[in-house]
Symmetry: C2
Subunit: 523 residues, 2 copies
Amino acid sequence: MIQRTSVAFGAVLLLAAALAVAAETAPSVRDGVRSYRQAHEREILAELTGLLALPNVATRVADVERNADHLTRMLERRGFQVRRLSAGEGTPPSLYGELTVPGAKRTLMFYAHYDGQPVDQKGWLSDPFKPVLRTGPLGAPGKGNDPKDVDLTSVTGPLDPEWRIYARSASDDKSPIVAILTALDALKAGGRKPSVNVKLFLEGEEEQGSAHLPEILRRNAPLLAADAWLLCDGPVQPTRKMQVFFGARGVAGLELTTYGPLRPLHSGHYGNWAPNPAVALAHLIASLRDEEGHILIPGFYDDVRPLTAAEKSAVAAMPAVEAKLEDDLALGRTEGNGARLEDRLMDPALNIRGLRAAEVGEGAANAIPTEAQVSIDFRLVPDQTPQKVKEKVEAFLRAKGWTLVAEAPDRETLRAHPKVARLAWSLDYAASRTDMSLPVSRAVVAAVERATGEPAVQVPMLGGSVPMALFTDRLKAPMIGVPMVNHDNNQHGINENLRLQNLWDGIEIYAELMADLGSLLEK
Amino acid sequence: MIQRTSVAFGAVLLLAAALAVAAETAPSVRDGVRSYRQAHEREILAELTGLLALPNVATRVADVERNADHLTRMLERRGFQVRRLSAGEGTPPSLYGELTVPGAKRTLMFYAHYDGQPVDQKGWLSDPFKPVLRTGPLGAPGKGNDPKDVDLTSVTGPLDPEWRIYARSASDDKSPIVAILTALDALKAGGRKPSVNVKLFLEGEEEQGSAHLPEILRRNAPLLAADAWLLCDGPVQPTRKMQVFFGARGVAGLELTTYGPLRPLHSGHYGNWAPNPAVALAHLIASLRDEEGHILIPGFYDDVRPLTAAEKSAVAAMPAVEAKLEDDLALGRTEGNGARLEDRLMDPALNIRGLRAAEVGEGAANAIPTEAQVSIDFRLVPDQTPQKVKEKVEAFLRAKGWTLVAEAPDRETLRAHPKVARLAWSLDYAASRTDMSLPVSRAVVAAVERATGEPAVQVPMLGGSVPMALFTDRLKAPMIGVPMVNHDNNQHGINENLRLQNLWDGIEIYAELMADLGSLLEK
């Protein structure tokens, strides 16, 4: 299959060279790709919804395998040579795809992931794995102004680019995969060929902390060689401007449980004497960070690598998004004493994902709960590591009088220690920042700007965590993020969605990168 | 029915007088009642389990009505004249029962409630409304040493008094009703009659804060006249000693919700900037009370009426239960810097019943939750009132920068205020303490001591809340608590249960009170 495609591309080689010379007058890559997309919107959407219909929570390996099978067929249809990369039986596989372009001297690797966040939260408008096209973004809660379902069979003409696909992974991170493949389709249909060899790495357990990724990379390092890795994950700017990012924060997860009496106790007969684990948890949380986001653990910021002057300038040049976001999200305040969002994302952070103790509201009983739990995610920056963060948190809690255990404590442990907390860590990965001034860094920015026709927002480090450090530390290749999905996509939450215009934009950007990067690097 | 019963009691009047004279040699009330119980254990248990099988969460009025119908039949079988007391259509009814004793000059009112706490918590060993007899108390979690089910059809001889009935309201508060009625059965079978007119008041929404009780009392004050009210609710001492209590703490409930962004936000892309409502809630809770139980709201303790010297002595004389409790409950510490449990229960308290924000554990997403909720119960002492507590809490939170709302806030409200909290109060009732030195107070203690053959523990005020203030403030009658159920009954929690020996003890105590109180007060 890859042979035949290469031949097809070979046939247009001379034409492509001619076009490059006549770049001022010939149709641009962007125009060609756009025409193709406009003629094929429904097919592109059908391919995406077919992929979204496959449940992909990575704790269910069989589901992930079904996604991998489906993706393999999608890649092979485009002439990719596909391999399934595994860290061992019963682990979620990653997919590797390779499309060699005759004459190309450079190799570009596209990274995306096809697994998704859990879907246990209440409030989905529809089944997370039955994609639904709707007329716009979510309405305000309780206002009855939620978007309407679109029935494509009763629609004629082009699709409204403000419509959105609602499904788990619509934005995070299946749509970039469809955009990359459609970009290839569009180049081919327009008689162009990529200026680089194209490789794909599609990860299968990113949302579970990429536990097996290091082993997969270790086993396949030569196969995965590339001049640069493009990371196709995360959202564009809240202003809807495209952005290029050169790093991402790291992440470490913590489930922390405090303990009260062995049995629920009547709060009237025992309250004020038997210790309340929810009160203890509240004080513990308040001791970890303040209401402005500052982490109160001594030495927590010691390993933070300062931004370079170039990075500081890039952050300062990023567009102001705060006013619109505050309005969209109905925020009456922000954390950080009014600091800019982009500045805040260059710092480490401690977020509470969830709290749980007994019941609230109608189901609440007048009782002292037996335990209370908080779910925390730490966001890390260079040169913090998950292991060092763990050590600092634990030393801090021990100094505060907590006895720390890794498993649910038995009666004897609880009896013997005044304050027992169970800590279950997921030490996911460190942060990464690629040098913004490398030639490949500049070339990627130039290609993106050619696709969009305007300056790209350049972000030294993304707030969200993607396992860039696992790649850059191991493969020693630069890694640069080129995201495409809308910022207001509810990724990780309920009613995750993708705005169609972002899918259309992604196709054009990825096409331009494939078409241009080789020649840009040879200049 | 009540006529015939009165005649029957009349017939034994002279005999009873003779017995009183020959008290030293005749069988005691206790011995007679015990013999009756020993001969009728299975029937008594069958009557209790029949009552427990009726769901009784007071938010479902139809369920409460079915309980009232069933109880009416139980009372009428004993010759009571029964009336259903309501505060209006669609409200849970209370039941009033009256049994006039010829010649009795005093009237004793027994209070109990037949509604129960919600049963939404996970972890019940069996359906809360399918009573199960088991061989003992609950085992330790995960130890596999839970008690075994008892099949009464394969048991011969007397029942093991350590066996327990597991069901919602087994202890709180249906078993006292069965004990009172069985006490009457036992007296009658032994040819004795009560020395007092017996009245029953069985409330139908105590666990929902007795919202309609004031109106029921207002409408029926003359009917409810009595020399004393006996409150048959709450547990005996953790040492298993019987106790008499002269008051109870009041209670006010609070559901408090804090707000983050309007939609769940990716914690990597927006965390550290968009405010986290769970962090805000933790700081709010930590500002309300410390880890020792001390409430940090200025002026919160201003209205606390000090204990009298007699009350202080009574508290000091209460048996030490702490060591055993700490061991039973696997406590590594207690709140109050090591103060005694009984001392702690004389103070007001703030208990957290539950916490909730998004999800924890496997279901947790890397997102900033949209809201966080805490469920709180305040325990009040004389002369605090729920209204004054509400005012103090709200003034404190406002001073801390919170904008308080009573309903879920709209987008505009959230946008306009830095910190918005929704407060939903249930201003239940105040505390009450009856004078321990009244003649009727002394007589109740004497009767209980006669039934048990040992000194009764005298408690100035119970830690748990029962609506004593609603009665004492309105009816101006002394109210004294005479509880019977085991302390380790898990009331309000999962797997609520009643130890059989406590039911047997309750029957003897209530019988002695009926048999003796009239004559004790005439001495």
